[in-house]
């Protein structure tokens, strides 16, 4: 059993407050089941970083855990205490925090893939681009989910077109913040150092590396060397001539 550390205390504190707020809301107000369930689920989500650490799945950095807790807590607080209805800019703040948290998750995941999946290489210059594209896609999925829930259940998650567009602008701005931060981070850091600090579970490493269990443990290595460029004269020869073409194919396969 691992010792309780500061990150665990942050998780437990956020979860406890949310549970307490949910109970008080259930007892003293006329909150709907949707709002109460939001409180309960968010409280459970607050515990996930702690559970991950104690189960040996991964150890997230404290700053990131605080960001996750703030994002989840702010959302649940807004739903339970009707802040989304009362404060015009509240939705803007929660969307921005949540998108930054999701963006960092994507960034960490891409770094892990870069390290463990030998068939895939993003390179430090292109990870930020992928982060931006994936985060934008997630933000679209979220808005579409809101639309579907509104249509199917009749509740009002999307207040108005203006609200939707403001969400999208916040998400885009937050995606930009993560993208720029990722670019600057990778200028002075390597992926290996950070991924090593996450202490990922071997099964998770194997899953990312897409190797069967029988094979050896994935090796922590950054596939940073440049691919032979098909436009380089040497490679162009390979494409043109049958003998060299085979060589090029072998080169490519050896990267796998």
């Amino acid at each position: 059993m691992k010792k309780i550390d500061l990150s665990d205390l942050v998780c437990m504190f956020a979860a406890a407050i949310l549970l307490l707020m949910t109970i008080l809301s259930a007892v003293g107000t006329d909150r709907t089941a949707y709002k109460l369930w939001t409180g309960i689920l968010c409280a459970l989500f607050c515990l996930i970083p702690m559970l991950f650490r104690h189960a040996g799945v991964m150890k997230l950095p404290l700053a990131f855990i605080v960001l996750i807790e703030v994002a989840i807590f702010a959302h649940a607080y807004g739903v339970l205490l009707m802040r989304y209805d009362d404060i015009v800019w509240y939705d803007t703040v929660t969307h921005t925090f949540s998108t930054i948290a999701v963006g960092l998750c994507v960034f960490y995941a891409l770094m892990a893939v870069q390290i463990f999946d030998r068939k895939t290489r993003f390179g430090p210059r292109w990870i930020p681009l992928l982060v931006a594209l994936i985060v934008m896609t997630f933000s679209i999925y979220w808005e579409v989910l809101e639309l579907v829930v509104d249509t199917l259940t009749g509740i009002n998650m999307q207040y108005s077109p203006w609200d939707t567009i403001r969400d999208m602008v916040c998400n885009s701005a937050a995606a930009l913040v993560v993208t720029v931060s990722a670019r600057f981070y990778l200028k002075s850091h390597t992926c290996e150092g950070f991924i090593e600090s996450l202490e990922l579970h071997p099964s998770l490493k194997r899953f990312i590396s897409r190797r069967p269990k029988k094979e050896e443990q994935p090796v922590l290595e950054d596939h940073g060397s440049r691919i032979p460029d098909s436009m380089d004269p040497s490679v162009s020869e390979g494409i043109a001539g049958s003998t060299s073409s085979a060589t090029k194919r072998i080169d490519y396969d050896s990267r796998k």
């Binding site: 292109w126 992928l130 999307q158 999208m168 885009s172």
Partner: protein, 205 residues
């Protein structure tokens, strides 16, 4: 210039011309991207025969032809769901061009994306393009006097109807690209992985 590149260029120019003719500026985005993507290997290498794998180029032709057919048919038949189908077709084209961009990056940068990542890249690219449609739609709604703000709505139903108008491009693209991603992933299994990592010389048709 290889034949597939030429066909895509001609179709993309035709699609762009139709969009300009109808004043449908959103539909201009995809053909412009298509022209840029097809010309990029030629410009970068200085070789007018450079293109992409024929399987990739072939699937990019399908949505362009489909859009032109739909556009012409709509002139005479005035389809009720023209806009929705048009968005789905443009999402198809965006994904096809997204895959080409991924191959271009594979060939010209340190990136190395296997098949599944090429598809993921294309999916995220198509979804990101749909955000541009949404921003354009809100501008159109604002300029034509639609209710936009929370206080403009008297009931949830009215709100849902107007929200649906705004969300249509993103919603259609979201569901369409998930289907396309599954199909493209299967389709690209036919393509040699080497072909997804290099630009192809012309004449490989």
């Amino acid at each position: 210039m290889n034949r597939y590149s030429l066909v895509i260029l001609v179709l993309a120019i035709a699609m762009a011309s139709m969009s300009v003719w109808r004043g449908d500026w959103d539909s201009l985005i995809v053909p412009v991207i298509g022209i840029a993507v097809v010309l990029a290997p030629m410009i970068v290498t200085g070789d007018p025969n450079k293109g992409y794998d024929k399987h990739l180029m072939a699937i990019a032709v399908i949505p362009l032809v489909a859009f032109i057919v739909l556009f012409v048919a709509n002139l005479f038949l005035d389809f009720e769901y023209y806009y929705q189908v048009s968005i789905a077709i443009q999402a198809f084209a965006s994904m096809a061009f997204g895959m080409m961009i991924a191959v271009f990056l594979n060939a010209r940068t340190e990136i190395s994306l296997p098949r599944r990542w090429v598809v993921v890249f294309a999916l995220t690219f198509a979804c990101s393009i749909s955000v541009l449609y949404t921003f354009s739609t809100i501008y159109w709604m604002a300029s034509t006097g639609y209710p936009l703000y929370n206080g403009d709505f008297s009931n949830t139903l009215e709100n849902d109807v107007v929200n649906m108008m705004l969300m249509l491009p993103m919603a259609v693209t979201t569901f369409a690209t998930i289907v396309y991603a599954v199909v493209f992933n299967e389709y690209l299994k036919r393509v040699d992985s080497l072909e997804l990592s290099r630009l192809c010389p012309g004449g490989e048709i």
